[in-house]
């Protein structure tokens, strides 16, 4: 088993070898920490937390909007 990672825009799912911290996972996926949140079972996961191979998380984008 690996860490299941769900992403948006476009919606897709990846599997990443754990254990891995959130900060390292985002760096590996080249995602800016200012632009996303990590959610597991409906709750926020802090950046220093380590994910194990039975974890399933969502990486949720937070940037939105047109110019108005």
């Amino acid at each position: 088993m690996q860490v299941k990672v769900r992403l948006h825009n476009p919606r897709r799912e990846l599997e990443i070898e754990g254990p891995i911290t959130i900060i390292n996972l985002l760096a590996r996926l080249e995602l800016n920490r200012e632009a996303v949140l990590v959610v597991r079972d409906g709750e926020l996961v802090p950046g220093d937390e380590s994910l194990s191979n039975d974890d399933s998380i969502e990486i949720r984008p937070v940037i939105s909007g047109g110019a108005s």
Binding site: N9, N32, A35, L44, V45, P46, I63, A67, S68
Partner: protein
């Protein structure tokens, strides 16, 4: 990570404040920042009748929730823009929130009221979709607020929104817009006071607020916004923020403290000589307001208004730049 307040396990880090928070104290932090913005910029008076523009996204639902929890009575206003399934789903989220909290939601549907939708209308009018959308929303926000007797219109613009618009307007030196890019625009004839109580919160925080408060919101981006300049400005600013936490806050609040006043005269000139639109009666510097021109260009129909005679529409010059 430990919560800066209680030393319990933190759920979020806010690097520009060099602080981490548990769920309970993060909510308090959001409330504190909104209260501070309201007080600092004198956004809302005790007797004000308040309307919040609601899109079904994280920011508008977060500010509605925050204001209600801070003790304000606030009605919601949803504008249906006819952006296919995206508009249908966003309305569902706005309605679900209002129903769950027993709050009043006003709904205005652009396609059924004005006979055009944003995707097709913007194409027909030869406008960028986000420009046509923004113009329509601003016009209808004002119209519904005045019609309903609301003193203040609240929007969910957050720190990232304001910093990105400031970035774009500075890059292109849209000085008339820079002078109006303030957290509060005072009421004038035909316009309610407009306020942005989320200016002290980044959008990562408004999204986190919704997750912690279990507020369901539309996560997916508007399909019309993909690739627009505003989003690219946000990405650029987030790259800077990652290297220099607090950069967005310094940029925006530094502008307010040290630069905005320099553009005030130009902004006021831009708004001088407002008359009434010959079609809808809204304040405008032209004979026909920009929204009514858009409706005609987009192939829609202007609704009949009591006491106002429709006139042929002059399809005058278009403007560029961003204003909120």
């Amino acid at each position: 990570m430990k919560c800066v307040t209680c030393r319990g396990p933190a759920i979020i880090d806010i690097r520009r404040h060099n602080s981490n928070f548990c769920a309970e104290h993060f909510i308090e932090q959001c409330q504190r920042q909104v209260r501070k913005a309201i007080d600092e910029f004198e956004m809302i008076l005790p007797e004000d009748k308040i309307l919040v523009a609601v899109s079904g996204g994280k920011d508008s639902l977060a500010i509605w929730d925050l204001l209600v929890d801070l003790g304000y009575e606030v009605d919601g206003l949803y504008i249906g823009l006819g952006i296919g399934e995206y508009s249908d789903i966003s309305l569902d989220y706005a309605r679900a929130y209002a129903q769950a909290r027993n709050l009043h939601l006003i709904e205005v549907d652009v396609p059924s009221t004005f006979g055009f939708d944003i995707p097709n209308g913007s194409r027909a009018a030869k406008r960028v979709p986000c420009s046509a959308c923004g113009l329509s929303k601003r016009h209808l926000f004002d119209e519904e607020a005045i019609k309903g007797g609301y003193d203040v219109l609240v929007t969910g613009h957050n720190l990232d929104d304001e910093a990105a618009v400031l970035f774009g307007n500075t890059l292109h030196w849209h000085t008339e817009y820079l002078g109006r890019q303030l957290p509060v625009l005072p009421a004038r004839k035909g316009f309610p006071r407009k306020v942005k109580p989320l200016v002290r919160l980044a959008e990562r925080e408004t999204a986190a607020y919704c997750i912690v408060k279990e507020i369901d919101y539309l996560i997916d981006e508007c399909p019309m916004a993909a690739g627009n300049k505003h989003l690219s400005y946000k990405n650029a600013l987030n790259e800077i923020e990652a290297m220099s936490p607090g950069a967005k806050h310094s940029f925006y609040f530094g502008f307010l403290d040290r630069a905005a006043a320099f553009f005030a005269v130009e902004a006021s000139i831009d708004r001088e000589g407002l008359g009434a639109c010959a079609s809808c009666g809204a304040p405008t510097t032209s004979e026909i307001c920009a929204f009514c021109r858009l409706v005609v260009r987009a192939g829609g129909q202007l609704p009949e208004r009591t006491g106002v005679t429709a006139v042929p529409v002059d399809l005058g010059p278009k403007r560029t730049g961003s204003v909120q």
